[in-house]
């Protein structure tokens, strides 16, 4: 009896049995009496009733279950009995919200924390500070301790936060088309390691992009020690191959040049986009702006020779459009004029029109020896780099304004060659395992390598792809593994100047991602070692042992690893040009043009294709969004009779693509530029199928430019969403320009500023203005380079939605701060090479704001500190304020633009900023949430907010410090000082709106510039 009962107890009950048992409790006639509650024991008759009621409730609940598992039933049953215990109560149970039992250190709800980390791109890094609210990273700022950005960021770093939360990121491991787990992959990796150790790594190939993580480099080094026949290839579509090869030609070893604009008075950019290319652009931009300060001793003078308009060309005092192939001729002409030894004697007929200018430049360089540098762009071939090094040596710049650092010994110096080698080996059947870590070679390799076909080679039995997205390469892979975003990972980043930063995770991986380091660790036999330990382990070998913990903590806190001072590198040998074989300058055939490739200004090589912020950020100069286009010169467009948005067929070495045309003032006449990064098929929902894939035209031997492009106009049209349709200022001079010389005279004369009478027809604000604070902003147009970082920073800070191409086509973009671009110059010739001006336009916060008067419901009002405030809740959406704003800075939610559905994007929102709904107006608030935070801090500390204490998002991101915000009533604040400058002017000040945002006149060296600032 007992035995059978025990057996019964051991056997799990089935669902039916449980249900039957509970629904019809029968008095047990025999056996020991088990009681379930005190009431049952007392047997007042209520227990049976209670139990059956509870069972009925459970039954009802079960009917709603998808899979009525016993476990779920038990959960429900347990809950029901718990309820039944509260006999007779009809009220809801009390739910307790448990506060932190142990308060996490430093977390105060509503107070953000900042953590230092770093992002890397193209082998260089930017130090960052990430703002975290209750464990949610929501905003990226630059790390002021890091030398690359000095607190500033580029557009890419700003937008990384959106990529982190991108719901289209790869979320699961995929094995042969089916969902799989990391655990099973790691088991596979262990087997692989065992096998490959036996084979000494034969047939194993690792492909990455440029690696600048010391830990990963060390892992690869160790792997190669263990498996000497394994190979590491790295390929980045935007690489520095030519620079390294040029150094090899001239110096005998691959070195990478860094330019220090702060040490030069004259800079010649030979197709070098110093201000806009790569993280180093941040450093250059800051140095450039500082050296252009009117207070500076001798303001830097910039010359640019380039085939396609760039930020650097726009900033240059003298910009000469030349074909990419002709840059060599310019360099050679300069070298000859400066009597550089070994300077080639090339046929300079094609640059004949610029001969006088080049001669004058050479003379100027001659006179500025030791204070001049020649920068050669990464898109120029090795010969030009060699020539550039020789020029810099002749100018005495090497070691001063130009420093040379040896390239990493382990990494392939010529990445393209490295990729070619990989493909050839696969084709030869020598490779069975390819580990692609974070790269996407199927999409981003030159078309002639046919990487996709190679990777499909049947000898390759394991193609393993680790990527943020299950992209074009992931589609071919046997194993696709989700990569962790750098904000979710431990890691380290070395910048080009040698500064190392640690990456620390801001959040647990959202989608099971792991890092390249984790995968390599598995191959090294370190399965399951946490990322943090991998990084620490490496740094333990690098940092002094005695105070490692302190250094580690300091590195995490400051974002910069305190490295012991490196020994000074030996001086590089003098450049020699005798080994260089100069290419024969071929005259372009009739009807053929030069094709130039450029990384896209906002989505780079395509890796940011699924980032809506970057897609919608107007590309500097063209203001194009959501597309790439074939840029042609106005002259070529006239000649071929083609116009904007017209589709042309581009034929280049047997490949053809169709692309819409965009006429780019300043483009070299016979050169057509295409941007990489578009035409993705597996980027994600945002980036798929937009634009055209320029990689299809790219060749391994012509990575940046090549002659022989044919351009065949078609009848088709593709609408291009550009945000600025009018190029000229219609003689209105929103951007005022003067010369350094005139500015100096002004400085001597004092108070020469031009001011309209302080007079307005608008009534004063109806209430008293604060005596402590009057917020204002000054934007120094002399520092602005038009990069657009402010726009993205503002978008991230203020929860600004993206609207999509169709809405941008109807001018409904939502950016609170836009960068206007104007071309200057008279006649048709000026379109071929105009002077370019940029002007960031946020809300002016007019003291006499036209918008406030016309709002029927008082949704936009004036604060006592001078802010023009929007009360979203009160707005009914008549849009009268938007019409009446002379600066057109108001943005309207014509439709429900904010995505309230996607959970990932909800995490992204800044909790300090209201999310706007459809039908309300919005605009720049001067980051009122930051003002209020500063106010709270000041109040707690019993002091006033400092004049420079509040930093707006746009100001923080600006690489050149062009935007300054602060308290105008504090005469010591930076903004007060700038607004007191004789260069200060208000936009459309004749309207009497008294803007709080003002501008500072742009200064140039131009001889043709006027003596006086020109009035609008």
């Amino acid at each position: 009896m007992m035995k059978s009962q025990n057996a019964d107890l051991d056997k799990p009950l089935t669902l039916t049995e449980l249900m039957r048992g509970a629904a019809a409790p029968e008095a047990e006639s025999t056996g020991p009496r088990y009681w379930r509650s005190l009431s049952e024991l007392a047997d007042d008759g209520s227990f049976g009733e209670m139990a059956s009621r509870a069972a009925a409730r459970a039954q009802a609940a079960i009917h709603g279950l998808d899979e009525p598992s016993r476990r779920k039933f038990m959960t429900l049953m347990g809950a029901s009995f718990a309820l039944a215990g509260v006999a007779g109560c009809g009220v809801q149970p009390v739910e307790k919200i448990v506060p932190y039992v142990e308060q996490p250190e430093l977390i105060v709800p509503g107070k953000p924390l900042f953590f230092a980390t770093a992002s890397s791109r193209g082998g260089d890094g930017v130090g960052l500070l990430v703002e975290s609210h209750m464990g949610r990273p929501i905003k990226i700022e630059g790390n002021p301790s890091h030398p690359t950005g000095k607190g500033a960021t580029d557009v890419f770093s700003q937008a990384e936060i959106l990529s982190l939360y991108d719901p289209d990121r790869s979320q699961v491991a995929v094995h042969d088309g089916g969902v799989d787990t990391w655990e099973r992959f790691l088991r596979f990796a262990v087997d692989l390691r065992a096998r490959k150790l036996g084979e000494k790594g034969r047939g194993l190939r690792i492909l990455t992009r440029s690696v600048c993580s010391p830990t990963v480099l060390d892992q690869i080094r160790r792997l190669r020690e263990q498996m000497p026949e394994a190979r590491w290839h790295s390929y980045e579509p935007v690489n520095r191959d030519a620079a390294r090869k040029g150094a090899e030609l001239a110096l005998g070893s691959p070195m990478e040049a860094s330019y220090h604009l702060e040490k030069a008075d004259v800079v010649v950019a030979l197709d070098a986009d110093l201000l806009g290319w790569g993280p180093a652009g941040l450093r250059h931009a800051r140095a450039f702006a500082d050296r252009r300060d009117p207070e500076a001793e001798s303001p830097l003078k910039l010359y640019a020779f380039e085939p396609t308009p760039s930020l650097t060309g726009a900033a240059a005092d003298v910009r000469v459009p030349v074909a990419a192939a002709d840059v060599l001729l310019v360099a050679a002409a300069l070298a000859k004029a400066l009597k550089v030894e070994g300077a080639p004697d090339l046929d300079a007929k094609r640059i004949e029109p610029h001969a006088a200018r080049i001669a004058a430049l050479a003379a100027e360089l001659e006179s500025k020896k030791g204070k001049a540098l020649v920068a050669v762009g990464d898109s120029q071939p090795a010969e030009v780099h060699a020539l550039g090094l020789a020029l810099n040596a002749a100018l005495g710049a090497i070691g001063e304004a130009v420093t040379l650092a040896p390239a990493d010994e382990l990494a392939p110096a010529d990445q393209t060659a490295s990729l070619v080698e990989l493909v050839r080996e696969i084709e030869a059947g020598a490779v069975d395992t390819v580990l692609v870590l974070g790269a996407n070679p199927v999409y981003e390799a030159p078309a002639d390598l046919k990487v996709a076909e190679a990777l499909r080679n049947e000898k390759v039995t394991a193609l393993i792809h680790l990527g943020l997205y299950n992209d074009e390469t992931g589609a071919l892979a046997h194993w696709h593994l989700p990569e962790a975003h750098f904000l979710e990972s431990w890691g380290d980043v070395r910048s080009a100047d040698g500064t190392v930063s640690l990456q620390q995770p801001l959040i647990e991986p959202l989608y099971q991602g792991r890092t390249a380091s984790d995968v390599l660790a598995a191959l090294l036999g370190q399965v399951g070692v946490p990322g943090r330990e991998l990084v620490r382990e490496y740094w333990k070998t690098r940092l002094p042992e005695e105070n490692f913990e302190a250094s580690w903590r300091q590195a995490l806190r400051d974002g910069v690893v305190p490295l012991p001072a490196a020994e000074p590198a030996p001086a590089p040998p003098a450049p020699k040009l005798d080994k260089v074989q100069w290419p024969a300058p071929a005259a372009p055939a009739d009807g053929e043009y030069e094709l130039v490739f450029r990384p896209d200004p906002t989505i780079w090589d395509g890796r940011y294709a699924n980032n809506g912020w970057l897609q919608e950020l107007p590309k500097p100069l063209t203001t194009l969004t959501w597309d790439n286009a074939a840029l042609v010169s106005p002259a070529l467009a006239r000649k071929l009779g083609i116009e904007d948005q017209q589709v042309v067929t581009l034929e280049f070495r047997s490949s053809t693509i169709k692309a819409p045309v965009l006429i780019a003032p300043g483009q070299a006449e016979g050169t057509v530029t295409v941007h990489l990064g578009y035409g993705r098929s597996r980027a994600g929902r945002v980036g798929n199928g937009i634009g055209f894939d320029a990689y299809k035209l790219r060749r391994a031997d012509a990575p940046w430019s090549g002659p022989g492009l044919k351009l065949i106009p078609t009848e088709g049209r593709i609408p291009l969403a550009i945000t600025q349709h009018h190029h000229d200022t219609k003689n209105r001079e929103p951007v005022k320009v003067s010369t350094f010389e005139a500015a100096r005279h002004h400085g001597e004369g004092e108070a020469h500023g031009h001011h309209h009478p302080d007079f307005s027809l608008y009534p004063d604000a109806p209430y008293k203005q604060s005596e402590d604070y009057a917020w204002g902003m000054a934007i120094d147009l002399n520092r602005c380079i038009g990069c657009g970082a402010c726009t993205i920073a503002c978008q991230a800070e203020n929860n600004i939605p993206i609207v999509g191409k169709d809405q941008v086509l109807n001018s409904r973009e939502m950016h609170w701060i836009r960068v206007d671009r104007y071309y200057e110059g008279e006649g048709a010739a000026s379109a071929d090479n105009p002077t370019t001006h940029f002007q960031p336009v946020p809300c002016m916060h007019c003291e006499k704001a036209p918008c406030e008067l016309v709002c029927p419901v008082e949704a936009t009002t004036h604060s006592d500190e001078g802010l023009n405030e929007m009360t979203y809740n009160r707005c009914v959406g008549t849009r009268y304020c938007g019409n009446n704003c002379p600066y057109k800075v108001r943005r309207f939610n014509f439709l429900q633009y904010t995505d309230n559905e996607t959970p990932g994007l909800q995490l992204l929102r800044n909790p300090d900023v209201t999310v706007r709904m459809r039908g309300v107006m919005e605009k720049c608030t001067y980051c009122v949430q930051r003002i209020n935070e500063a106010r709270q801090n000041a109040k707690v500390e019993g002091r006033k907010v400092g004049g420079d204490e509040v930093v707006t998002a746009c100001q923080a991101a600006c690489p050149t410090r062009a935007i300054v915000f602060g308290n105008l009533l504090d005469k010591e604040s930076s903004v007060s000082k700038l607004q007191a400058s004789h260069r200060n002017y208000a936009l459309l000040e004749e309207l009497g709106t008294k803007p709080r945002t003002t501008y500072l006149t742009k200064l140039t060296h131009g001889a043709e510039a006027h003596e006086e600032p020109r009035h609008g």
């Binding site: 707005c875 939610n893 014509f894 309207l991």
Partner: protein, 470 residues
């Protein structure tokens, strides 16, 4: 009184041979016997079909938001505001005819006033749709009105949009009252003539117990006069306030002191054009040529000509001031962008329709030719719509900073909403001619009386005070 003596060869305001009985039966039979007319059926069919389109367009609008229209960042007002101003303008003729011409004792107004007032009401109803629908959050429309809100907030009185709310709603209220008061004796006539008990009861209750006693007439007359006096300033105020929506702004092309008079003239211009557009077919289809005579058409054509010239003067002044002021923004907009820019076609059509074509009305034969007059009135309607288009769109699309300039294009939903209000207008109008007397019966009888009186008094060189009973 010279008006009454049409010995100058002008057509009469009432065809000869009519008695009290013929006037009453001709007009009231349209309502009471309701002859089935295919033209009415077609008109009503079109009107109600378009009303369905309106329903669809508004549903879509409320579901998706105002972004289904073509409005964009510089041009934040588009067809909705254009249509609003256009409809309000059309709504001007009614009150003008009823009130001002009544006070000025213009006898010829009698047969067209009822109709014009109804048109006014329906036009204002259509106009009123747009300011509500064009809001981003139309369900919050009541925030524009002063009410004791828990937020202790009133509207922002400095905004012309708030003035608009008051101007238009006052106008709508007074016009409706005026119209209804004028209807009372006629409703009583219909009640008395109705053969169906239910119809008699409905008209009877609407007639508010009118018995036609002398006391009734006396009070009715004074009330009517009072309302006319009240309504008169409204004719000027409504469109003045509407024009201030533009004139009070800073936008070049809007910011102009000439706007109020120029808008009022334009409103009367378009209002009369619309009356002609509707009158000409109505009098033909319903046999009302005896009541709405060539004389009426002639007079209305003269008003169209006069107000059209004022509008033309307004255009010329805009040009002149743009040049004379030296304001670069206005100069660009008026002397360059409008005549030669993106919207030059609209601008040139507007000049043609509003200034060019109405010049034909100098010719008496054209004024008195209903078909030609009708065609001209259509041109004026189009021209006045284009005027608002030019004002709203060109000014906004190219204002101060060229970086923000962008073109504006309407979408299918803009068109659908506009057609929808035309549907609403047509629907109400056809409903109106079917259930209410389209011409004021009592006033027509009065006119008959006066005409008899005139004939009787003719010859006797006594210009006695028959004007006193008007």
């Amino acid at each position: 009184m010279a008006d009454h003596q049409h010995d100058d060869g002008r057509p009469p305001v009432l065809a000869p041979g009519h008695t009290y009985a013929t006037v009453t039966s001709t007009i009231s039979d349209i309502v009471l016997t309701r002859p089935l007319d295919w033209r009415w059926a077609v008109g009503m069919g079109i009107g109600s079909s378009l009303l369905l389109v309106f329903g669809a367009a508004v549903s879509m609008l409320l579901f998706k938001g105002v972004g289904i229209w073509g409005v964009n960042a510089p041009v934040m007002w588009g067809w909705a505001i254009i249509n609003f101003v256009w409809w309000v303008g059309i709504g001007h003729a009614g009150t003008l005819i009823s009130a001002i011409l009544l006070l000025l004792k213009q006898q010829w107004r009698t047969s067209i006033n009822r109709f014009a007032e109804a048109m006014t009401l329906f036009a204002v109803a259509c106009a009123g749709m747009f300011p509500l629908l064009h809001m981003g959050r139309p369900w919050k429309f009541f925030w524009m009105m002063p009410y004791p809100s828990t937020m202790a907030l009133l509207p922002q009185w400095r905004s012309p949009l708030v003035w608009d709310v008051f101007a238009v709603s006052t106008y709508a209220t007074v016009s409706a009252l005026f119209w209804y008061v004028g209807l009372i004796p006629d409703l009583a006539t219909l009640r008395d003539r109705a053969k169906n008990k239910w119809v008699a009861m409905i008209y009877g209750s609407l007639a508010l117990g009118w018995r036609g006693s002398a006391r009734h007439w006396s009070r009715y007359k004074s009330a009517y006069m009072l309302l006319a006096a009240l309504a008169t300033p409204l004719v000027v105020s409504v469109h003045t306030v509407v024009s201030l929506d533009f004139a009070a702004s800073v936008i070049p092309g809007w910011h102009a002191t000439i706007f109020p008079p120029y808008f009022v003239a334009g409103a009367i211009f378009s209002g009369f054009a619309m009356v002609v557009t509707l009158c000409v077919p109505l009098r033909a289809w319903y046999g009302l040529k005896d009541f709405i005579t060539i004389r009426h058409l002639d007079n209305m054509a003269k008003i169209i000509l006069a107000t059209g010239m004022i509008v033309g003067y307004g255009y010329a002044m805009e040009f002149f001031i743009a040049w004379y002021s030296g304001n670069p923004y206005e100069e660009f907009l008026l002397l360059d962008a409008r005549p030669f820019g993106t919207y030059s076609n609209a601008y040139r059509c507007m000049i043609l329709c509003n200034v060019g074509i109405p010049q034909l009305l100098w010719v008496p034969a054209i004024r008195r030719n209903p078909v030609l007059l009708w065609i001209i009135s259509i041109f004026v309607n189009i021209g006045m719509w284009l005027e608002r288009y030019v004002i709203v769109v060109t000014s906004l699309s190219q204002d101060f900073l060229p970086s923000s300039w962008a073109d504006y294009n309407p979408t299918i939903w803009d068109v659908a909403t506009f057609l929808g209000t035309i549907g609403l207008f047509t629907f109400l109008l056809f409903l109106f001619v079917r259930v209410l007397p389209a011409i004021a019966v009592a006033e027509m009888r009065e006119l008959v009386h006066e005409k008899h009186h005139e004939h009787a008094a003719a010859g006797a060189a006594v210009a006695e005070a028959h004007g006193e009973n008007r």
